[in-house]
């Protein structure tokens, strides 16, 4: 399952330890939500990055005390039709100001990329390799957005007032994939106060 980060297919440096097995030293790991909460105080002081796979039926508010220590939060899409993690992602980014990696896992398909990026995800365990290949193209499909969200894009209602035209964003879509500005576009913007 390819991992897409910053708009490109990359190797996953995290090791998953989703049961109660011992946690390897010195490598980034992802542990299950319940285990993380039980051992959080110990896990956050180990010598490598720690991530958590958080279920979509628990409030992300439970993670709040640890957000500064977590380098990755993986949210779950058991079926792509199950959209609970979109709310979790926006809350993490916009309400709790989580700045670490926010990863979409599970049934992650091409036609959701745009929504995922807008909700604040910045890494994607893509189910189909072919979908991963067209990630940059897929997220550049739209240039107009009607609502403020975690990606900080300016909604149409404001752009109209600023006298902005659609063309400005259109240009960005034609950049070669993988270029620096393309990546900047895909990575979440800094979350300004007024998107809360």
């Amino acid at each position: 399952m390819p991992l897409v980060k910053s708009g490109q297919i990359v190797e996953d440096r995290y090791v998953r330890v989703l049961d109660d097995a011992p946690i390897p030293e010195g490598v980034p790991v992802i542990v299950a939500g319940q285990r993380f909460l039980s051992d959080a105080a110990d896990l956050v002081v180990r010598d490598a990055p720690i991530g958590v796979l958080w279920p979509n039926d628990r409030r992300v508010a439970e993670l709040e005390p640890w957000l500064k220590d977590l380098s990755l939060i993986a949210l779950a899409f058991p079926k792509f039709r199950d959209g609970r993690a979109y709310s979790q992602a926006r809350l993490l980014r916009e309400r709790y100001n989580y700045r670490g990696e926010l990863r979409a896992t599970g049934d992650v398909l091409r036609d959701q990329f745009q929504f995922l990026v807008r909700a604040g995800f910045d890494s994607f365990e893509v189910k189909k390799p072919a979908d991963a290949q067209v990630f940059a193209k897929s997220v550049a499909r739209y240039s107009v957005f009607y609502q403020p969200s975690a990606d900080g894009r300016v909604p149409a209602i404001r752009r109209r007032l600023q006298g902005g035209s659609v063309a400005k964003t259109r240009e960005r879509r034609d950049l070669p994939s993988g270029s620096a500005s393309q990546i900047a576009m895909i990575a979440p913007r800094s979350v300004s106060e007024d998107t809360l």
């Binding site: 409030r59 792509f80 039709r81 199950d82 959209g83 609970r84 979109y86 709310s87 979790q88 926006r90 309400r95 398909l109 036609d111 959701q112 745009q114 929504f115 995922l116 990026v117 807008r118 909700a119 072919a130 499909r141 739209y142 240039s143 107009v144 957005f145 009607y146 609502q147 403020p148 969200s149 975690a150 990606d151 149409a156 209602i157 404001r158 752009r159 109209r160 007032l161 035209s165 659609v166 106060e193 007024d194 998107t195 809360l196």
Partner: protein, 552 residues
């Protein structure tokens, strides 16, 4: 009219391009039908019994002549020459080919129309009163609010995969013509004690197998908070709505299981966290949207011009039609004209491409280029000068949309039923057609007064049978079509669910039962002015049950 700008047009064009790509991937086999299904549903494309069906949104029921002509073109070019207006201000084409869908959508996009979010588990087309902007009893035009909310929820990154579909309606009049209480979320503009205008927020209405009327969760919401409150409701629903059972996934079940108070409390908590953020109403942004609603420049006219009175005296058919299909307008000298899409023997809500073109021309000549679509599956011309009524009537009559049966027993709301729909258990349209034949006599229907019949071909209740004065629900019993009959439902400001009168009856007896109910009503009403619905309210279901089942 709301006039699309470059932003709106660009988004719709980008959507068409995306869908074209999705269809290509489906046709090449890259996407399975299972994977394609939610993508096509998000564009209003269903797979029905015989073909794909395309549902196109008519936001808040307002169309220009140009748009209606394009609907006619799509009907002719991509379908079988007609379209079907639904109960939610949409039009459906039932015979579209998958490979032609992107072109049909591109044609619609050329006039700012689309099928985005007319199905799927997202926020659906936002509906309102078809008389918005012209009704005398209106506080302010609800369409501007509907458009604000429409924009906000279109391709919303958080709410495109909700537990189930989500229907919003906006109202603004003392008389509810938008069936607010049967919506997942309804916003009703009204004045509070201090004279300020804001919204009553109602949540958790819906029909289907577990009908509920929406409950008021906030009696008065300030205008500035409308988007943040909608967002808080949607977020609460997205997080906590049931996903284990499709029949329990609508917000009405969440509201019911949590209790309206606990649900409202959850929403309030969420809302307080976001209400002063980016969603607080930006007056300038709102004014910009409002400015793109174009209103006619009305002439200075007097009500009841003498030529109208003369024409009414001269032709009793015209006179009866004015009585039935013409309503008061907020501007003196003008009228709102309802076009009945319920002719004798017709399919409720169907209109041919030729009729659409003709109506578009008439709207151009007599109604400032504007047409409305209502949830009763009729059209309206919203700005007709009263002195034009005789001439307009002759032309409407000639194209078959001047049946004087608006709000009467033959003005039937019906789903497509088993003739088209893969979900249906029974036929709806032939039942409606038979009833219109039984009650073909205009004297008889007029004597019966206001009486709404709603027909659904299955428990999903697309024909809103629960809120029909007489509701007819098709069920299947041992492979045969049977129909449950309810009476006493209403969808207006005093919304009520109908009560079952007794065991289901077979297909062949449904029209007889309706005749029995009508006859019983005429005998039981206290005076001719007592409406059917008021008689049912006064005496209950029992006398109707007795009458219907005495001989069965």
């Amino acid at each position: 009219m709301y006039v699309y700008d470059d932003f709106d047009r660009t988004l719709v064009a980008e959507r068409v391009a995306e869908f074209r790509d999705q269809v290509a991937r489906r046709l090449s086999g890259e996407l399975t039908e299972d994977e394609f299904k939610p993508l096509r549903l998000m564009n209003g494309v269903y797979l029905q019994l015989h073909a794909y069906m395309l549902r196109t949104a008519i936001p808040y029921g307002t169309l220009s002549s140009t748009q209606l002509r394009m609907l006619a073109h799509v009907a002719r070019r991509f379908d079988r020459g007609y379209g079907h207006f639904t109960t939610r201000q949409n039009i459906q084409y039932h015979w579209i080919k998958l490979e032609e869908l992107p072109d049909a959508m591109a044609a619609l996009a050329s006039v700012g129309m689309h099928g985005m979010q007319t199905s799927g588990n997202c926020v659906r087309n936002i509906t309102t009163d078809q008389w918005a902007g012209v009704a005398p009893d209106e506080i302010e035009d609800p369409r501007i609010w509907a458009e604000l909310v429409r924009q906000h929820v279109t391709l919303h990154p958080e709410f495109s995969f909700l537990p189930r579909k989500f229907k919003i309606a906006v109202g603004s009049s003392s008389h509810d013509r938008a069936a607010l209480r049967v919506h997942d979320l309804a916003l009703r503009l009204h004045r509070n004690g201090a004279g300020e205008i804001g919204f009553e927020v109602m949540v958790g209405g819906g029909l289907g197998r577990t009908p509920f009327l929406a409950k008021t969760v906030k009696p008065f919401l300030h205008k500035r908070d409308v988007l943040s409150y909608v967002e808080a409701i949607l977020r609460t629903y997205n997080e906590f709505g049931r996903r284990d059972n499709i029949y329990k996934a609508r917000i009405k079940i969440l509201v019911h299981e949590l209790g309206a108070e606990a649900f409202a409390k959850e929403v309030e908590t969420e809302w307080h966290a976001i209400k002063d953020g980016a969603l607080a109403l930006d007056p300038a942004g709102f004014a910009e949207i409002a400015a793109r609603f174009r209103y006619p420049t009305y002439a200075q006219l007097d009500d009841s011009p003498p030529e109208l009175a003369v024409a009414r005296r001269a032709d009793h058919r015209f006179d009866a039609w004015v009585d039935n299909a013409v309503a008061n307008h907020k501007v003196p000298g003008y009228a709102i004209v309802t076009l009945s899409l319920k002719p004798e023997g017709g399919t409720p809500g169907d209109l041919t491409a030729e009729q659409m073109d003709a109506v578009a021309d008439l709207a151009e000549r007599y109604s400032f280029d504007e047409i409305r679509v209502g949830h009763e599956q009729n059209l309206a011309l919203p700005h007709v000068a009263q002195h034009d009524l005789p001439a307009l009537w002759r032309e409407l009559d000639a194209i078959g949309v001047a049946t004087p049966n608006v709000n009467l027993i033959t003005d039937i709301i019906s789903c497509p039923g088993l003739d088209y729909c893969g979900l249906a258990n029974a036929r709806s349209i032939p039942i409606a057609q038979e009833i219109t034949r039984r009650f073909r006599n205009p004297e008889l229907t007029r004597n019966l007064g206001r009486l709404h019949i709603n027909i659904s071909g299955c428990i999903n209740a697309c024909g809103h049978h629960h809120v029909g004065h007489i509701g007819i629900l098709g069920v299947e019993k041992n492979g045969e079509e049977f129909y449950q009959i309810t009476v006493g439902g209403k969808a207006d400001e005093n919304a009520t669910l109908g009560a079952l009168i007794g065991p289901a009856v077979p297909y062949a007896q449904v029209a007889d039962v309706v005749e029995d109910i009508a006859a019983a009503y005429v005998e039981l009403r206290q005076r001719p002015e007592e409406l059917f619905i008021d008689t049912v309210k006064r005496i209950g279901v029992e006398p109707f049950r007795e009458r219907v089942y005495a001989t069965r």
